[in-house]
Symmetry: D3
Amino acid sequence: MATVHYIEYEDASPEVREVYDDIMTTRKVDWVNNFWKALAGQPELLQRTWYRVKEVMAPGAIDALTKEMLYVAVSVTNGCRYCINSHTAAARKKGMSDEMLSELMAVVGMANQTNALANGFQLEVDEAFHNGGRDSE
Amino acid sequence: MATVHYIEYEDASPEVREVYDDIMTTRKVDWVNNFWKALAGQPELLQRTWYRVKEVMAPGAIDALTKEMLYVAVSVTNGCRYCINSHTAAARKKGMSDEMLSELMAVVGMANQTNALANGFQLEVDEAFHNGGRDSE
Amino acid sequence: MATVHYIEYEDASPEVREVYDDIMTTRKVDWVNNFWKALAGQPELLQRTWYRVKEVMAPGAIDALTKEMLYVAVSVTNGCRYCINSHTAAARKKGMSDEMLSELMAVVGMANQTNALANGFQLEVDEAFHNGGRDSE
Amino acid sequence: MATVHYIEYEDASPEVREVYDDIMTTRKVDWVNNFWKALAGQPELLQRTWYRVKEVMAPGAIDALTKEMLYVAVSVTNGCRYCINSHTAAARKKGMSDEMLSELMAVVGMANQTNALANGFQLEVDEAFHNGGRDSE
Amino acid sequence: MATVHYIEYEDASPEVREVYDDIMTTRKVDWVNNFWKALAGQPELLQRTWYRVKEVMAPGAIDALTKEMLYVAVSVTNGCRYCINSHTAAARKKGMSDEMLSELMAVVGMANQTNALANGFQLEVDEAFHNGGRDSE
Amino acid sequence: MATVHYIEYEDASPEVREVYDDIMTTRKVDWVNNFWKALAGQPELLQRTWYRVKEVMAPGAIDALTKEMLYVAVSVTNGCRYCINSHTAAARKKGMSDEMLSELMAVVGMANQTNALANGFQLEVDEAFHNGGRDSE
């Protein structure tokens, strides 16, 4: 199915293996998923993407599970099959219950609906919402 | 700009005012934003949408602020101008700091990138991700 | 705002004016809208697009007003500001009432929601729906 | 494939069965498709979605078949595999011929093209199209 | 899988075979891919689409391979499975190396990310970028 | 309009100014556009995004102008107003003529159309296109 070859660990160069090792260590698994094996054909693409994902998804002002659920929300909206599966699995692993998944999906469904309505009616942005409420208390 | 007329409170029928009152009470504001005033042209559309949004966005297994941030993530991904502004404002009102907004945007940006890469490379879903990890512990 | 110059009728070549005339005759107006004036920079693009739109939107097994409403549905889903405005106006001109617009938007909103839910839950296509019911009676 | 378990009729609670019965009665079938069985994990999500879909899709100012074709147009534009199949099948069941399907697809294809062109050229909305022709006769 | 029947060469009318022959001659192949066989149910749709694609994709100010890579970029962004596969194959046939595919995907991934960030932050267009730099030297 | 404050050069920290300087040096300009000034609220987001964009857009197997046109194609498909303007301007600066812009838009328009048709008809991927022609000569 993939339009490029997966680079398996045993066939990988040292610089690619270094990234694979970091992925497995960070995620506490002993295997590398297809996404990274597809990017490995261009080591720079693999490195930049992995280290940035690792950085962005680390807990900060927003916790790790919430970040994972945000990732699911975007993947569902974009209809990316691989991503919906991998990130739903990742969110479950980080503590998302079935009840949380249902609520998440209900929010995402509703948001896609109201986005369409707002776009469709070409609404003017209310003054109180200007700049996303940037200067409000 | 809007393709329909906004129904102002003073011109609204009793059934529409009932919804407007509930919106203002729930949100602790004394005005109704354009989105609802545009839907009011069809009272049924206004009612169903408001009561469902109210239900879906109430705190549950997922808290209210996280739900609002999920809404922002979807709106950004769909590029809905009205929604990005109104929901960013709503999230700020519910406690989202500038730091949280930046982290949210970083996650949404990254997710849109990896969604494109995963789609582009037509990846097979790894076995461990089948069913979004539905049957895993 | 536009990234190219509009070619006004008075500045247009004979081959471009030929298309402009056909647009105005077909639509029973005495002016050419911005969309066509932007395409006119590349006469071939203007010709192919206009004659194909004219052909596709002519009444057939589906009537002209329904075709215009389908166009609105797609434009709303894609969030194209210019298109939402121009096609909502065109649909009104072809007989779409405010009530019909509201019903159309309700359907489009609902569809965007259930599309997200179906994608999000990664549903298998039921056997009865295979091939979009192509071989059913 | 699905990221949640389907709730089969025999395993469903009375409140879920009540919705299932209404779906089958309304659609004159003796089975429930996967979409509803996936939503049933959260009975409220199932109820709200079904009763709203039923309401929105009932014939009104716009007839039922046209509403179904609008649903197909949105599903195609969003690229939702499950939805394209289920709604194309539903539209066929409501009377859409192969000829109508071809015309619908031709319109949807054209609309996706001109949406991209209009967005790409960043066109100003002509005055006559302001507010989607809201105040025109 | 397809929602319509494929019209095979042996079952095709003379007008459809004429298009099929032109496709095979132009592409130097001895078979017709599914996309055209699905459109053939409506000969006019087949004709218009093929001749326009042939015209648009011919080398001009932009060469044929670059045009094919642009097609891949759009297909990836839209997540169209059929298109990603067929156009990646076509681009390879026209000279795209694995290295070029990786660079293309890196650009497309980055663009999808920065598009989301720009939309999300609701940026004002800088004066120097007005009209896409239309009037700059 | 923006949902965050722009960090102007004069108000920027040394680490942010370092990035600003690199942007202006690389692009041979004496000003920083809004996109970067919005990201600067989170210095890490600014750094990662700038250095990765710089890397991805540098000439490689694909030249710089082609990469810029790919960026326009994605931005148009996503309908990102800011991005369409900034990247169309950037492409013009790198040598894209009006004729090339028209051809690019014609390709992007066509691709959005055929993507919708292919998705809509739910086509099976022909064997010759499997894996995007990965293993073909």
